[in-house]
């Protein structure tokens, strides 16, 4: 698979969750990539985790957070 195709697959998975109202609440980076935790805005449902391997996808999620695409109030929701 081309590098772009690998990235695109991961990006689509991320974007799908964001479109469904999930927000990124945690990014854990280690030797194997970035484990990103999503929680749906306003819900107290189970978090969804994605393991991102490509550099571009890891950049994509942080750019999304940086640009303010986060759940409205996930913290309060889970309290």
């Amino acid at each position: 698979m081309s590098a772009f195709a690998e990235f695109d697959k991961e990006r689509q998975a991320v974007d799908k969750l964001l479109q469904q109202g999930y927000g990124i609440v945690n990014i854990k980076e280690d030797l194997d990539g970035a484990e990103v935790t999503f929680i749906r805005s306003g819900s107290d449902g189970d978090p969804v985790k994605l393991l991102l391997l490509t550099a571009d996808a890891r950049k994509h999620v942080t750019t999304a957070v940086f640009a303010g695409i986060r759940p409205a109030a996930p913290v309060e929701a889970s309290i």
């Binding site: 081309s2 590098a3 945690n26 990014i27 942080t62 940086f66 640009a67 913290v75």
Partner: protein, 429 residues
């Protein structure tokens, strides 16, 4: 025509072109001929207790048909008595009162030694002093040159001793043979230096003769490390000048040295913070008259840019030089091949295939002709293909708008840390 005059820490010069302390500034005869050719200033061959040189002392690295890509020497400071040099400095200054004559000095790291030489040199009317803490060989084995230049405290102390008696501006010349040149630059400033100059030569061994197994150069079958300079060292010198220029703790004018051989090099050094520049190897290779082309080129460039004075260049690129962590990760460039200029040598394809991201495809166009095309989505914009391409205009690196807001590595790490901080707090609650 633009005004080429500079003022480096109080030293006036008709233009920014100075000869560095080296063989071209060994005698009054040479310096006077250099001034006649157009050089604005000269840093005299380093004065100190006269030394004895070895015979066979220079070597060069030629690369792919380019002679003297790099130059290596094991020469020491002047081998002539101080009085002889002082007489010639006096005569030179008398004949060329408007030119900058700087005395380069090196003595043992003792206060009284510095006081003695500074007083004797200033008596003949030099415009400034340059303290040579950079010579990497010979003198360093005797505790001088780079040996003292590698000890920041000793640089500061010796600069202070000089400043106790000096009445002319003091430039401290730095060695590049150190991990972080800004540390020494800051100590020079703390010692009261009026300016710094950099770089002196880089520790080097020009080569080994694979037939005789002797070093190049060798002195009767024995070699020792030398100092490297010339075009090959320019990027190293430029980065060190830039680091000093952007360091607020340094904060004094810079005389840029290292691999300068064209007016374009001069512009680059000045944009990166140098107030003036010094040249050695290019003059050893081509003679004093290269300055004519440098003056013309610089004049035309300043006119084209609409600049009235060369001083308007000083430091203009420094704000554009920062840390890797402050670069925008969302900035994206891709390679584009321009078929009209491509000579189908395939070098870009091989480079991308073997050493980058395998994204230059070999296709056949409608006329059955082989063409190369970049898969832009897979191109990481490393520039390698455009670097190896021998045909002008065959590969352009194009900036694409990724649509994403600029984000640096430092900002990214900050965002992750803030995000994770608030998440774990929630978990604890």
């Amino acid at each position: 025509m633009a005004d080429l005059r500079i003022d480096l820490a109080g030293i006036q010069s008709p233009n920014p072109f100075w000869l560095a302390s080296a063989p071209p500034t060994n005698t009054g005869y040479q310096v006077q001929r250099a001034f006649e050719a157009g050089w604005g200033g000269a840093v005299w061959k380093t004065l100190g207790d006269p030394i004895i040189n070895t015979s066979s002392r220079f070597a060069a690295v030629h690369f792919n048909g380019q002679r003297v890509a790099g130059f290596n020497n094991i020469e020491l400071i002047t081998d002539r008595p101080l009085e002889v040099n002082l007489k010639e400095i006096y005569e030179t200054k008398k004949k060329f009162p408007g030119h900058a004559v700087i005395a380069s000095l090196m003595v043992e790291p003792k206060r009284e030694k510095w006081h003695e030489i500074v007083k004797r040199v200033e008596d003949v009317g030099v415009d400034g002093l340059e303290l040579n803490f950079g010579c990497p060989h010979g003198m360093a084995e005797r505790g001088m040159g780079a040996a003292s230049g590698q000890q920041p405290d000793l640089v500061q102390a010796q600069t202070t001793w000089v400043k106790e008696v000096a009445t002319t501006p003091v430039i401290v010349k730095l060695t590049p043979n150190i991990t972080d040149i800004t540390v020494v630059a800051r100590h020079a400033a703390k010692g009261g230096a009026d300016a710094i100059s950099l770089i002196n030569t880089i520790n080097s061994l020009a080569g080994v003769d694979i037939h005789s197994w002797n070093t190049i150069p060798h002195v009767g079958g024995q070699g020792a490390h030398g100092g490297y300079c010339g075009p090959a060292v320019k990027p190293i010198a430029l980065s060190m000048v830039a680091e000093c220029a952007r360091d607020r703790g340094v904060g004094i004018p810079i005389s840029g040295i290292g691999g300068i051989s064209t007016w374009q090099d001069v512009v680059e050094f000045m944009l990166m913070g140098a107030t003036g520049i010094q040249v050695c190897t290019a003059v050893m290779h081509h003679g004093f008259r290269i300055v004519e082309e440098m003056i013309d080129g610089l004049n035309n460039y300043l006119d084209d840019k609409g600049l009235a004075s060369v001083t308007e260049l000083i430091g203009k690129s420094v704000p554009k030089y920062s840390n890797w962590g402050d670069l925008d990760l969302n900035y994206k460039v891709v390679a584009r091949i321009n078929e009209d200029n491509c000579i189908n040598c395939n070098k870009c394809h091989i480079a991308c295939e073997d050493a980058s991201h395998q994204c230059i495809d070999m296709l056949t166009n409608a006329d059955g002709k082989a063409v190369l095309q970049v898969r832009e989505e897979d191109c990481v914009g490393c520039n390698l293909c455009s670097i190896v391409c021998p045909a002008d205009g065959a590969i352009d690196m194009i900036a694409l708008d990724s649509g994403a807001a600029p984000m640096t590595w430092n900002q990214r790490q900050q965002v992750i840390s803030t995000l994770n901080g608030s998440y774990s707090e929630a978990e604890v609650v």
